[in-house]
């Protein structure tokens, strides 16, 4: 009898242990509860099962992003292209974080907090303690100072020198405290402090090796979630999990950046699972939406497309200001300096048709220069120009642009800016190869010619177009801005001091003393509170809307197609990978 009891006990024990090892939790719980009474040995099993812990993330897996272009250099202060930042962004810590959903600057990176002096000129940043480079050195304030001093060095050729504008000094108060002193208050100044930090202990103190360091091609030391592994040019870059990442090592083994130049081939590879993420073109959306293995992340991008209207005579480009900062009166554009012509253009375009047919629905009409994404500065009361060809024709008639010879093209018959008899002939240019812009150009040409314009449309190579734009030798241009960021300050597009032929971005030669004044006031508001800055931007948007230096065509919409391979993805408009260390292979 005793033997029988022992046998039963042993059988129960074995059954309990076997069942406890099974992955199905529900029936196991019941069984084990019966057995716990029997022996102390099983009590350990009870702890595991009765208090269910969260399912541990699955380790492993690789994420492959497809890109049209390869990185050029993996140094955060030398790179100027987005592909390079896609890769090097994994390695170099930065001072400031960005909320992935609102875009606001947040203390989620090296700066855990900061103080600002009352006059707004001195910023003191307190750094995260215990952040280490993967070679065991601590990331500290010296790295920040070294990086920004290197940018300023004559030995370093970098397009990032403007990041030092207005910074009077950078001081290291202690290894975890940085003080940055500005010459004057500029509310968007923090944006210049976002570059990745170089590991200063690996470079010469005099910056003499920054340009030629092998680290520019193989940045083997990292303080981010991944460590550099290999870069096969024009093919792929691979990075591996950084087990010492201060926010917690990612679950995935690594991340790959694969170069697939052709958009059709990228989509095909996303469908076959060779890629896990691509930027989706509008015409590819349906394919991604219908694929059960794919997700689509759609977001309002921080950019817009527009038609720039040159206000000055392209035969005689002039700077907007003289050396003393006084406005220089421009030689006006014979046609486009006439506000009535600009208004007629703005009313003659069928924005709904453009957005639905050219942008395939991936856009939204905007009224002026501040996008809705920058909610606090955007003026929602401003209405975009309505499509109304009758009104457009009437405006041209009233302004003295009429078709007196019946050839379908209007001439100046008493207009304000051109010689009598001059036809309404305007060149319209865009960059060849961008099929969306080429289609838009054809549609704009068709719609404007429909009300008596004679639009000469041409798509030219991008490098040539840039030369014409900055040289201010164009009439009208279809182009766009991307990466405008979270601060509404866009003075470089409108301020007369940036109307400098050959270099300035106010290449439409827009000149308005009131706008100059408002733009300056808006970035130098003491305290930089958004409530105090917003009224300035509302005024700016109203004036830009009324003056029409640009015809705003559409706000940009981004589309990212990605696989369902990993759980935990939570893409935001400002960052897809912000929580990549928490992703785990889908079970």
């Amino acid at each position: 009898m005793k033997n029988k009891k022992l046998s039963l006990l042993a059988a129960l024990l074995i059954a309990a242990m076997v069942l406890a090892a099974c992955p199905q939790p529900t029936p196991v719980v019941e069984t084990v509860r019966e057995t716990v009474i029997v022996t102390q040995v099983v009590t350990e099993t009870e702890e595991v099962v009765v208090t269910p812990t969260p399912v541990p993330p699955v380790q492993g897996g690789v994420w492959v992003e497809g890109s049209s272009a390869d990185a050029t250099i993996l140094n955060p202060i030398l790179a100027s292209d987005s592909a390079s930042f896609d890769v090097l962004g994994w390695f170099f810590p930065s001072l400031l974080g960005q909320d992935p959903f609102s875009g606001a600057i947040v203390p989620t990176e090296m700066a855990s907090s900061w103080d600002v002096s009352e006059d707004g000129l001195i910023w003191t940043f307190h750094l995260q303690d215990g952040v280490m480079w993967s070679d065991g050195e601590q990331v500290n304030a010296d790295d920040f100072k070294f990086t920004y001093d290197a940018i300023g060095s004559d030995l370093v050729e970098t397009p990032r020198k403007a990041n030092l504008d207005n910074i009077e000094s950078i001081e290291v108060l202690d290894p975890l405290t940085i003080r940055v002193t500005y010459g004057e208050v500029k509310c968007d100044a923090l944006n210049n402090l976002g570059l990745g930090w170089l590991p200063s202990h690996l470079y010469a103190e005099d910056y003499s090796d920054v340009m030629d360091s092998p680290l520019n091609q193989e940045p083997t030391v990292s303080a981010g979630p991944f460590i550099f592994n290999e870069w096969i040019r024009d093919d792929n870059s691979t990075v591996l999990r950084n087990d010492t990442y201060w926010k917690g090592a990612p679950n995935m083994d690594g991340w790959i950046y694969k170069i697939v130049p052709d958009p059709g081939a990228r989509l095909a590879q996303l469908q076959t699972g060779e890629l896990d993420l691509i930027g989706v073109q509008p015409e590819q959306l349906t394919t991604v939406q219908l694929d059960a293995n794919l997700n689509l992340h759609k977001f309002k991008d921080d950019g817009y497309s527009y038609i720039g209207l040159n206000q000055a005579n392209p035969a005689n480009p002039q700077a907007g200001q003289d050396e003393d900062g006084n406005l220089v009166e421009q030689d006006p554009h014979p046609i486009l300096s006439d506000l009535a012509v600009r208004q007629a253009i703005a009313h003659a375009l069928d924005y709904d048709a453009i957005i639905s047919k050219v942008y395939l629905g991936q856009g939204y009409q905007i009224a002026s220069n501040v996008l809705p994404a920058v909610g606090w500065a955007h003026d929602p009361s401003l209405q975009p120009y309505a499509f109304d060809t009758d009104m457009a024709s009437q405006i041209l008639d009233d302004a003295g642009w009429t078709d007196s010879d019946g050839d379908g093209v209007r001439e100046c018959n008493g207009c304000a800016t051109a010689e009598a008899g001059a036809t309404l002939t305007i060149r319209l240019q865009t960059n060849a190869g961008n099929t969306t812009r080429e289609d838009l150009g054809a549609l704009v040409q068709d719609q404007l010619n429909g009300i008596g314009f004679d639009i000469q449309f041409e798509a030219i190579e991008f490098g040539t177009l840039v030369g014409e734009l900055l040289g201010q030798t164009f009439d009208m241009v279809i182009i766009g801005w991307t990466g405008l960021g979270t601060d509404p300050n866009d003075d470089s597009f409108w301020h007369s001091k940036f109307d400098t032929p050959g270099s300035g971005f106010n290449f439409v030669s827009y000149q308005n003393a009131r706008i100059d004044e408002l733009l300056e006031q808006a970035v130098s508001v003491p305290g930089c509170a958004t409530d105090d800055r917003a009224p300035f931007y509302h005024d700016i948007q109203k004036i830009i809307h009324d003056d029409i230096p640009y015809v705003f065509v559409t706000g940009s919409v981004g589309n990212t197609g990605y696989s369902k391979k990993f759980d935990g993805t939570n893409p935001g408009p400002w960052s897809f990978y912000h929580n990549i260390e928490t992703w785990s292979l889908a079970q």
Partner: protein, 354 residues
């Protein structure tokens, strides 16, 4: 023979010099500015652009830049020793001329193709990195072109006027007319997406280790090779058909037939051998055509080769890379033509090199 080769190589020197001048003038005078393209960003100041332009030497007259590119020696007015002396650049100020001479130790005369503006890498290094990829694709495409094109051409000639001949003619026309980007995408869609038999692009299946796997490499080579070889198959098959038809009308073939030699032997031994000779003349240019004409195929199939690199360098106005690639391809052209002439002499004893 040796004298002939040496003479041809010596003749190549003025040719290359001419190529260097013409290509330099063309590239530097083409519209677009490498600095503006790199800095088309409102956050970058004009001052920064000027510094970059000066540091890269782009502010100088093109003739001075050309001399610098050829010899590695640049000239600056005034005392600019401090500004330009760096790790690999030594500068000296000559007070008599009030000028600074800098010697980078480079220059194409010393075999240095310069440094890329876009990536700060040595141009030679960039070319070498991609040479192997283009070479693999080029050789594969050339082999397929020959192995398919030659038999098709000969058989077409043998069966002149037959449905087979007509089919090959149609294939040749279609092969020449099909845009390779369209044909490539169709193959990717069919064999990659729908059937899933072959990879859709790249040289290898990417992984964190990127280990060499010959089978995987071959699988990646199939589709781009077919697309790149299609034009070659079309051209070579038509060429071989014409040449074979010419040969089979000659007296010695008629004699062979009259003597009762088997038809197959007549076609493939007597006729083919002689018809192949003129093929040698197009082989040199064909090799180069495949190597340089792979730009589109390399783009569609994400193939990391030299053609794609040169094209993107041109778009970015990366002058040193474009010029380096042009010089490299020029040398290849000269060597290809020389090889073609030598081979012609080797296979046809009637031709003497002199």
């Amino acid at each position: 023979m040796a004298r002939y080769v040496i003479r041809r190589l010596l003749q190549a020197i003025p040719t290359l010099l001419g190529v260097s001048i013409i290509s330099f003038v063309l590239v530097y005078n083409s519209p677009g500015d490498p600095i503006l393209i790199r800095t088309f960003d409102p956050n970058i100041t004009q001052e920064t652009r000027e510094i970059l332009r000066r540091q890269l030497g782009l502010d100088q007259h093109w003739a001075l830049q050309y001399i610098g590119w050829m010899t590695g020696v640049t000239l600056r007015s005034g005392d600019a020793v401090e500004e330009f002396t760096r790790n690999e650049i030594r500068c000296n100020y000559l007070a008599v001329l009030n000028a600074t001479f800098c010697n980078s130790g480079g220059g194409i005369l010393r075999g240095n193709l310069g440094t890329s503006i876009a990536t700060n890498q040595a141009v030679w290094e960039r070319l070498v990195e991609r040479m192997w990829a283009t070479f693999q694709l080029g050789v594969a495409a050339l082999l397929v072109s020959l192995l398919v094109g030659v038999p098709l051409g000969v058989l077409s000639a043998v069966r002149q006027g037959s449905p087979f001949d007509a089919s090959v003619r149609v294939l040749a026309v279609v092969g020449n007319a099909l845009p390779s980007f369209w044909f490539g995408l169709m193959l990717i869609f069919l064999f990659g997406v729908v059937l899933g038999w072959l990879p859709t692009g790249g040289m290898r299946t990417v992984s964190l280790t990127n280990e060499f796997d010959p089978v995987d490499r071959l699988r990646h080579l199939i589709l781009p090779t077919i697309v790149l070889a299609l034009g070659g198959i079309a051209g070579i098959s038509r060429f071989m058909r014409t040449e074979t038809l010419e040969v089979i009308r000659t007296d010695y073939i008629r004699m062979a037939k009259a003597k009762g030699v088997a038809a197959r032997r007549v076609w493939f031994v007597h006729a083919l051998r002689n018809a192949l000779i003129p093929l040698m003349t197009i082989l040199g240019p064909a090799i180069l055509g495949v190597l340089t004409g792979a730009v589109i195929v390399e783009t569609i199939f994400s193939w990391p080769g030299m053609g794609r690199m040169t094209f993107s360098a041109a778009v970015q106005r990366d002058y040193p890379t474009v010029l380096g690639a042009v010089m490299f391809f020029s040398i290849l052209t000269i060597l290809g033509n020389l090889l073609s002439d030598i081979l012609y002499g080797v296979v046809d004893p009637r031709v003497r090199l002199s």
